[in-house]
């Protein structure tokens, strides 16, 4: 059912967007005063049905799109709008890779979607696929958000998969067959272990060492050692260290300075780059992980996000209107989570380290134990304020 449309997303005529359009009309400066919650709910629900042609390059990352839609709906307090949660849960499990002679022992986890076409069963996923760690992460998130108990997750296979992708230098590649390795996959691997509350698959010391080697002089983290500080890498590094229980090792003050300086109205991801809505989450979320998100200038950030709010729902990366600029599911999702970080009324609070609501976190399988979810050292994971 989650097929690929070969036609463009049609420009919806104004009347089909239903009532309440008045608030979505552009103000004199093109900025709507309010967050159009209902429009966004419809926007994300559409992505659970149909993915427009321009998303063809994300064919193998469809689980990520499903995560973003579910996570945004959860944050908007609209999970009940999803017509059939079980259908999605079953679809996710169809993307679980069973290991065998053709793909090898390290192939366990989830794929994002087969580029060979829709997979009708887990057996089909087995034959040639190897799991992608970021898709495993997205799968576990979706299952948590939709209230699944992980009973069909092959934990041993996932752990073998995680072990197969860790490199000698402590970093992780994405797929056992071979990909580049960097901080993005470190985060996905650590988050996977955290959600399964199982650290067998990773060498924690090596992982921490790699993360710390990727610190740069300006307090930030690059995606690799010697790389320029980048808010995406900072988020991955801080959240990972938080889940590993080694957050004390960041250069706290310097890093906070760097993160605060990312706010130029909206947030950018690197020094002297233009602001982009998704950095509201990468920067703001990092600040929540560090416990300093009260230092965000909420008004400017919110105003910037609103200039990126689209008349068809969703948010774009930069300010502008259709057809110059379109909203996309990734920037829309991180704008919604960013607004939640800034305590937008009516939005569910989130746990930025994982990218899910507090409600879903507390109801998830990994929190159902005395003392709640634990970090790799065995200490309890501290939820943000």
């Amino acid at each position: 059912w989650l097929g690929l449309a070969r036609t463009r997303l049609a420009r919806l005529p104004a009347r089909s967007l239903g009532g309440g359009m008045a608030g979505a009309e552009d103000g004199a400066d093109g900025t709507a005063a309010d967050v159009q919650r209902e429009l966004h709910v419809q926007f994300f629900l559409r992505f659970l049905q149909l993915v427009p042609a321009p998303y063809a390059s994300l064919d193998t990352n469809r689980l990520m799109i499903v995560y973003m839609a579910c996570s945004a709906l959860d944050t908007l307090g609209a999970l009940d709008a999803i017509p059939d949660r079980q259908e999605i849960v079953d679809w996710v499990y169809n993307n679980q890779v069973l290991t065998g002679p053709l793909n090898g022992d390290g192939a366990g986890g989830f794929v994002g979607g087969g580029f060979l076409g829709p997979m009708k069963s887990a057996e089909e996923a087995t034959r040639y696929h190897c799991a992608h760690v970021s898709m495993t992460y997205c799968a576990l998130l979706v299952l948590s958000i939709l209230g699944d108990d992980f009973s069909r997750v092959d934990r041993d296979a996932v752990m073998r998969g995680i072990r197969a992708i860790q490199q000698d230098d402590g970093s992780f590649q994405a797929v056992s067959l071979g990909t580049e390795s960097d901080m993005r996959f470190v985060f996905s691997a650590v988050a996977t272990c955290f959600m399964l509350q199982d650290w067998r698959g990773i060498d924690v010391d090596k992982t921490v060492a790699f993360i710390l080697r990727s610190r740069s002089f300006d307090g930030g983290f690059g995606i690799l050692p010697d790389q320029e500080a980048h808010a995406g890498a900072i988020y991955c590094a801080s959240a990972a260290l938080g889940m590993l229980g080694h957050l004390d090792k960041v250069m706290g003050d310097c890093l906070v300075d760097f993160l605060v300086a990312r706010q130029v109205g909206g947030f950018n991801g690197r020094i002297n780059k233009a602001p982009d809505t998704c950095y509201t989450f990468w920067v703001g979320g990092s600040m929540q992980v560090l416990g300093v998100h009260d230092q965000i200038d909420v008004e400017s950030a919110r105003n910037f996000i609103l200039t990126c709010q689209s008349a068809i729902g969703g948010f774009s990366k930069v300010p502008g209107k259709i057809p110059e600029v379109y909203p996309d599911v990734l920037h829309a999702h991180y704008s919604v989570l960013g607004l939640s970080l800034m305590r937008e009324p009516g939005f569910q609070p989130i746990v930025a380290a994982l990218g899910m609501t507090r409600r879903s976190f507390l109801a998830a399988p990994f929190a159902q134990q005395p003392g709640g979810a634990k970090v790799s050292t065995g200490a309890p994971f501290e939820l943000p304020e």
Partner: protein
């Protein structure tokens, strides 16, 4: 994902229908190949078909890592396959099996060539092997460049493949035209001077070409001189200076003074540019010892230079009507640094300097009220002499 959908949409709109049909047909062909299970064998044989299909697809979407993996398997297979026996004096050699110097990818030696020989110890044979491998490298780099420039110049997968070609296929750069790669990086950086994939790849190539840290510094300086706002270049400069420190070459007082002068020229022209202030902060830390602790030598000269630089920053702030937040942030740090250094050199109590720094934080909260909580926290940090 950033910015790609709009471009792709425009390109698809311009694409004539027959091109789209052809592409769909190729994808179906590749899918059929992979699904029939012959794919694995076909891939390791390095079939022309698999290579042609993947090449075309990767120029459209360079981020399908599976396809780069198919090519890596195929290329290694071709590089390590036995040479066909091409000596003209050997009777019965099938001329078609001889390596064709004009062929894009060389022949598939595994298929039906009874005259094939294992790589022998003869110099001619190893030369031929190297030459074949060199050709594979050159052609693959060309294909990868197309995928980058036509498809997505920020594709992690494409850049990582390029690094693989240089390191693995190209035998740690030995079979690669490294100067050409450096020129390519120069060109790509002139279109986008913040492409971090390019900087990372260039660092690999530079290392293989035997560049020193001083070469890196010179390159960084070129980029900074072209555009002072290019923080990626500043990152490279600072990182290189830190490498030199680890090798035991510290920036002494004189060198620090020269660097201050250079960066001040730019900061006075463009006081809002964060790149320059980041370097200024690094210089201040070096001057006063920063995280490494208060320095042991030149301490009087350093204190004098620090005071002189603090006055210059205060002057800059005045020119901006006392409202340059970056200048004021720099002053907070310099004031604290001066307090600590003066304590060491002159035995003076740092208390008043810390108080002064906290006052600047208060003024910052007035100048930039939307960040007042940050300045309050900053003031607290000063109290602990950050």
């Amino acid at each position: 994902m950033h910015g790609r959908k709009q471009k792709q949409r425009e390109e698809e709109a311009r694409e004539p229908p027959e091109v789209r049909t052809k592409r769909t047909a190729r994808l179906r062909k590749l899918r059929a190949l992979l699904e029939t299970g012959l794919a694995c064998r076909a891939v390791r044989d390095g079939s022309d078909e698999a290579l042609e299909l993947t090449a075309n697809l990767l120029c459209i979407n360079p981020s399908i890592n599976t396809l780069w993996n198919v090519r890596r398997d195929a290329l290694l297979g071709r590089a390590e396959a036995p040479l066909p026996d091409a000596a003209p004096s050997v009777a019965g050699v099938d001329a078609a099996a001889a390596p064709d110097p004009d062929a894009e990818r060389g022949t598939d030696a595994a298929v039906g060539n009874t005259a094939a020989t294992a790589p022998s110890a003869s110099p001619a044979a190893s030369d031929a092997l190297l030459e074949r491998r060199r050709r594979l490298v050159r052609d693959e780099l060309a294909l990868n460049q197309q995928a980058l420039t036509k498809g997505n110049v920020k594709s992690h997968e494409a850049w990582s493949h390029r690094a693989w070609v240089v390191e693995v296929l190209g035998q740690a750069g030995a079979l690669v035209d490294l100067q050409r790669e450096l020129e390519l990086c120069k060109g790509l950086l002139s279109s986008d001077e913040r492409n971090f994939h390019c900087y990372q790849y260039r660092a690999l190539v530079a290392r293989l070409a035997g560049h020193t840290t001083d070469d890196d510094l010179a390159f960084a300086q070129q980029l900074i001189d072209r555009n002072f706002s290019n923080y990626s270049a500043w990152h490279l400069k600072i990182k290189s200076l830190e490498t030199k420190e680890r090798d035991g070459v510290d920036l002494g007082c004189e060198a620090l003074a020269a660097e201050f002068e250079a960066v001040n020229n730019a900061l006075f022209t463009e006081p809002d540019d964060q790149s320059g202030w980041m370097f200024h902060r690094w210089l201040t830390a070096r001057l006063s010892g920063g995280r490494a602790g208060v320095p042991e030598h030149d301490t009087e000269a350093r204190l004098a230079l620090l005071r002189e630089q603090a006055m210059l920053v205060a002057e800059l702030n005045e020119l901006e009507n006392g409202s340059s937040k970056w200048a004021m942030l720099a002053l907070v740090r310099m004031t604290v640094a001066e307090g600590r250094l003066a304590e060491k050199v002159e035995g003076v109590d740092p208390g008043p300097k810390l108080e002064e720094a906290r006052n600047i934080c208060t003024r910052l909260a007035e100048v930039d009220p939307s960040h007042h909580r940050y300045y309050e926290h900053l003031s607290d940090r000063v109290a602990f002499a950050c």
